[in-house]
């Protein structure tokens, strides 16, 4: 797609309105928080929501846009979080290679995040490139295997030290809030640009029928690897941000259940749309929060039931359902 005018116009399309509205809400909350007009509760919820949208969109690039369900996506998230902590505690320690950064927590944060994203991309284009030769269920299973390999190796590594790696810098929730917001804006922009670009059309073709796409001139393999790498970088970004927020990483940074969260949000929202994963993650967040508050015991039962119902009764997800029920809303839900 030729950049420039076309791209600028793309952001004025109705499909982007929901994102604009959400970003506006998050900005308002942030500003109120910054000037001390509201307490930390609402910004906390907002950050949770941003986190869910962020990881859901990172998964969407490969799952919803290209049709490849990756149970290993959490690996990239974990790599992001892990690298950030490693950067703080080793690379930028007084004796580390980046010792000149020592003490400058935000500089380390930026460098660590970029390193994590780079590492994730590297992993995606190597291991991922092999796995992406597989299709459908075989791909899904291979990524489960990939996740377990990393999980076991990581736990082996972690038992050598402590299983909870701590970032020992002081952080300010207000600033963290705006870091999350910046991460979200970046994520949303990337996802949206991909969705409305030629690249996005190519991925959609791959999702719908990969052989037909290839014969029509889509370089399917390259597109898949690129999508995988971008998705990986985005996941690493969120891994890094959330390890900053929680001041360290737990072993569950690599646990399959995070991949599950990402997958379920995409399924609920509806595959193939830009707004679907966003809607799905908001719904999922509300469900998770509500069950945590009122029915902690039932959390898995509820999630399991929702997945079954959505997949077998509303396979097109919430966005698809709204689109087919209310045709006038179609343009808003691309």
């Amino acid at each position: 797609m030729a950049p420039g005018k076309g791209l600028m116009l793309a952001f004025t399309r109705k499909g982007f309105y929901l994102s604009l509205a959400l970003l506006a809400v998050f900005i308002v909350i942030g500003v109120l928080f910054w000037y001390g007009r509201i307490g930390a509760n609402i910004p906390g919820y907002a950050m949770d929501a941003m986190y869910y949208i962020g990881i859901a969109l990172s998964m969407a690039i490969i799952m919803s846009y290209a049709g490849y369900v990756s149970f290993g996506h959490v690996v990239f998230y974990g790599v992001g979080g892990w690298t950030l902590v490693y950067t703080f505690n080793r690379l930028a320690s007084e004796s580390g290679v980046l010792s000149f950064l020592h003490g400058h927590s935000y500089a380390i944060l930026v460098v660590g995040t970029l390193l994590g994203m780079a590492l994730a991309v590297l992993l995606a284009v190597t291991v991922g490139a092999a796995v992406l030769r597989l299709r459908g269920a075989f791909f899904a299973i291979a990524t489960i295997g990939l996740d377990y390999v990393i999980l076991y190796l990581e736990s082996l590594y972690a038992t050598g030290g402590s299983d909870y790696m701590y970032i020992g810098y002081e952080r300010f929730l207000e600033k963290t809030y705006f870091l999350y917001l910046a991460g979200l804006i970046l994520t949303v922009l990337i996802a949206y640009i991909i969705r409305v670009s030629k690249f996005g059309y190519g991925l959609a073709a791959i999702r719908e029928d990969e052989d037909a796409a290839e014969v029509l001139g889509v370089n399917t393999y390259r597109y898949k690897v690129q999508a995988f790498a971008i998705a990986a970088a985005m996941a690493a970004l969120w891994g890094s941000l959330s390890s900053w927020r929680t001041s360290g990483i737990f072993p569950d940074f690599f646990s399959l259940s995070k991949s599950v969260d990402m997958i379920v949000m995409n399924v609920i929202g509806g595959l193939g749309t830009f707004n679907g994963p966003i809607i799905g993650s908001l719904i999922y967040y509300v469900i998770i929060k509500a069950t945590q508050l009122y029915a902690k015991d039932l959390a898995y039962i509820i999630v399991g039931a929702i997945v079954i119902i959505v997949v077998s009764v509303f396979p097109e997800g919430v966005a698809g359902l709204i689109k087919s029920k209310y045709r006038q809303l179609r343009e808003y839900l691309i």
Partner: protein, 256 residues
């Protein structure tokens, strides 16, 4: 002297023990319509798959405009200007008819310069051309079989190919739909001047549209020539056509 746009030389393709194509050679001239016929399982679709790079032949070469394209990836071949339709239609079901067609335009020979707006324009005009303009916003999976075949054609045409491979675009259509589709193919030839190879079982259609015909039988090329020559070739008749008198009568009546 017509220029050769495609030449296949000694193509051999095996599936395990099965010899699907056995040293097949033929050529297509620019602007021509070549009919590719033969009984079910003769290897026609396999030949398309070899030309478009979906399968690698064990032996033989494929030349497009003099360039050896054997072993190239399907997407690279498509970008050179060879487009095809599928015998078993492969619409991008959840995408709209327009999006399907736009993808054709976006990834064709002009893939690196075309803009989305241009692609949309091309797609719309192609949809107009094949008579699907009013279905443009419909998800492709909701089309009926005749419309899906038109969509296959639209997607291929949107690529603005130099060579179009048509795999049984008439199969499964009722007689009036066949007539409409034949009209459409004529239009493609006359207005768009695209070279075509058509695999077809509907005999009067091939006999009418094709300039020359190549006949495959159990993976071997058993005859080639003008429709009249092929229709009267005893080996072809034995293999396939059944009643040459009928076929010839058809040809004569329709050509007049």
């Amino acid at each position: 002297m017509a220029r050769e746009i495609l030449k296949v030389e000694n193509i051999t393709k095996r599936f395990g023990g099965l010899l699907a194509l056995d040293h097949v050679s033929f050529y297509v001239n620019e602007g021509e319509i070549l009919g590719l016929i033969g009984p079910n399982g003769a290897g026609k679709t396999t030949m398309f798959n070899v030309i478009t790079g979906v399968y690698k032949p064990e032996e033989g070469r494929v030349y497009f405009k003099g360039r050896d394209i054997t072993g190239m990836k399907p997407h690279s071949i498509a970008r050179l200007g060879i487009s095809r339709t599928h015998q078993i239609v492969k619409p991008f079901g959840d995408l709209t008819v327009l999006e399907n067609t736009m993808i054709g335009a976006l990834f064709g020979p002009r893939h690196d310069t075309i803009t989305e707006d241009e692609a949309r324009e091309i797609a719309l005009s192609v949809l107009e051309f094949v008579g699907l303009r009013d279905k443009a916003e419909m998800p492709a999976r909701l089309l009926n079989i005749q419309e899906k075949k038109r969509l296959e054609l639209a997607r291929a045409l949107a690529q603005e190919p130099e060579l179009l491979l048509l795999d049984e675009v008439l199969a499964g259509l009722n007689p009036s739909e066949v007539a409409k589709m034949i009209k459409l193919l004529r239009k493609v030839r006359d207005e768009k001047k695209i070279t075509m190879i058509m695999i077809e079982h509907v005999m009067h259609a091939v006999m009418n549209l094709a300039d020359r015909i190549v006949v495959l039988h159990f993976g071997r090329l058993i005859a080639q020539g003008t429709p009249e020559e092929v229709a009267t070739n005893p080996e072809v008749v034995a293999a396939y056509l059944g009643d040459p008198e009928m076929a010839l009568k058809f040809v004569k009546r329709l050509r007049r």
